[in-house]
Symmetry: C2
Amino acid sequence: LTIIGTSRRPVPTINDVARKAGVSKGLVSFVINNRPGVAPKTRERVLQVASEMGWRPSVTARMLSTRKTFALGLVMRRAPQILAADPFFPAFMAGVESVLAEENRVLVLSVVPDAPSEERAYRSLAADHRVDGIFVTDLRHLDRRIELAAELALPAVTLGRPDVPTTLPAVDLDDTHGIEEAIRHLVALGHRRIAHVTGDLELLHARRRRDSFRRATRAAGLEACPTVSTDFSAAGGAAATSRLLTSDPAPTAIVYANDPMAIAGLGVLAKHGLPVPREMSVVGFDGTEMARYVYPALTTIEADAELWGAAAARTLLTLITEGQSPDVVLPPARLVLGDSTAPPPTAHPDSSRSHP
Amino acid sequence: LTIIGTSRRPVPTINDVARKAGVSKGLVSFVINNRPGVAPKTRERVLQVASEMGWRPSVTARMLSTRKTFALGLVMRRAPQILAADPFFPAFMAGVESVLAEENRVLVLSVVPDAPSEERAYRSLAADHRVDGIFVTDLRHLDRRIELAAELALPAVTLGRPDVPTTLPAVDLDDTHGIEEAIRHLVALGHRRIAHVTGDLELLHARRRRDSFRRATRAAGLEACPTVSTDFSAAGGAAATSRLLTSDPAPTAIVYANDPMAIAGLGVLAKHGLPVPREMSVVGFDGTEMARYVYPALTTIEADAELWGAAAARTLLTLITEGQSPDVVLPPARLVLGDSTAPPPTAHPDSSRSHP
DNA sequence: CTGAAAGCGCTTACAG
DNA sequence: CTGAAAGCGCTTACAG
């Protein structure tokens, strides 16, 4: 059992500062808000007294009169299982945090399992004035959150560009470029049958990666490059890999839409006794730390999620304070070579490979 | 460029409800706060009018008069790299969220890189009255946050028990039990030389796992079971594994303090051409999804982080609302068998194993 | 059982 | 350039 201790010396208020500085509290407010029209020496004195007393304006009181919360909201709709394997999320948050910390603002986070709770979460944040704006991550096909943000009059920034009409600023990171690099790399090694394991195609970035894959393979003159759609989970990656192995003709290289699926793919290939990269080349997406330490180290497409978080936070803050903000385009994802890609096995007349 | 739309119909206040119900706003306040002493039919009418008007009491206004924020704080001090690989964190948050959502409370999150920013984060949360209480995760040796919470008069719950005097309630999950199971399992298979790769020993759970390992191996009559200390990262796990492979005599089984290190260990063993489990048994810790999809599937010690989050949230809420809360003990972590453990290779007179 | 009033700690027109 | 006052939307003694 535990009793809370609550003995604290009283926190000074704007009234205490005003009294001690011999001015009205309105003036003190003007000073700390950097409003023009305060005599320089008065401003000096007020600032001096405030810092002597260790006064910080009460965020709560400010909230009530300004209707600003100095907080930003992030709602993640993911099964905990998938969230846990996803390297994007913590890195993104660290980036957001790096910007908010220096502004003395705060991040309010929700993790929700499904669409209804997601909508409830947004409505609740808006109704309770918990946040000044929100990050819209994991954009979906015809994402309803674009109009929801408008309905709730909630300033918002999207990660990537939605496929519905939007007036929200977007912070975009091109992953097409990385996919193209990967395909060029594989083609240069001699691969002709390349497969793609997608993420959840409801998610725009899963679609975009798949579309980029199709465009790039077509541009390279490859035909019939299969895609298997799944959900970004390790389980999904493993199942998709098994399917590809039994397809005929089987691919000689697989490009996965994220690292966890690629690593699970490596597991399936090992279980089937197919050495990577000699019998099969594998490419991941994310550039996670783990990708460097599996065997063989993954060739993967690296995106900077932390930078993305910082840029999104800055854009959202600009939107909130200025009323508008330009879109931002980040450096594209790029291919990082590991040891999981090599020339395809020499084709034998009747395919000497055996799949158990 | 984007312009924020701000057209919304005005949100009703307690005054509107009081007027329409023909009572004072004080009475309305009594009704929604379930205070005794309101005539049943009056209460009915007020509730009726409130729901007709779609009124929700303003959280902000409540904050100012009650000095409660209806928010809980979580500060994670981790390098983004390590955070990204850590399955605990998202699952824990999902658990916390499952409790907060139904209470209409909110989680305020900070991700900080080092100790000074961690302290700043806590002080700032307290000074700005951003939260009613905090979660203290990743307890460290002689953790200063115990006294910091007291100094800031911030209600707090610890995950696990600190090694300093504390009055804070703890929510504890015993990982000793899982380690013991793992050692018994390995010993039963015939292993005598078992090694442990620890996490960052500043962290209490890393220590506890190491100490449990030592106790359990000693209890089994094993001697000289080495431990290599590292930092929970994949890089650390890989380096530690390499060191163990060159030690003489090399272990026949390695127990890692988390799954990412174990998976990295698998990578190193594969690179050295040492088949797992034939030449080396491997045990992880966490029970991540990925552990099931690497090859061979990891034998690992599973803890329920989501349950931990939910229990911690409930405990913290009880502490805040009741002023005290009992400690909670969760079901212990337990061993989950994969394919990465087997009897040790038969000992040859002069060790037939070759390490490249 | 209910009402009128003060108070939480700020911001912001409005006068001077 | 500065002060006095109202207001943000609640809660909470204090009277009746």
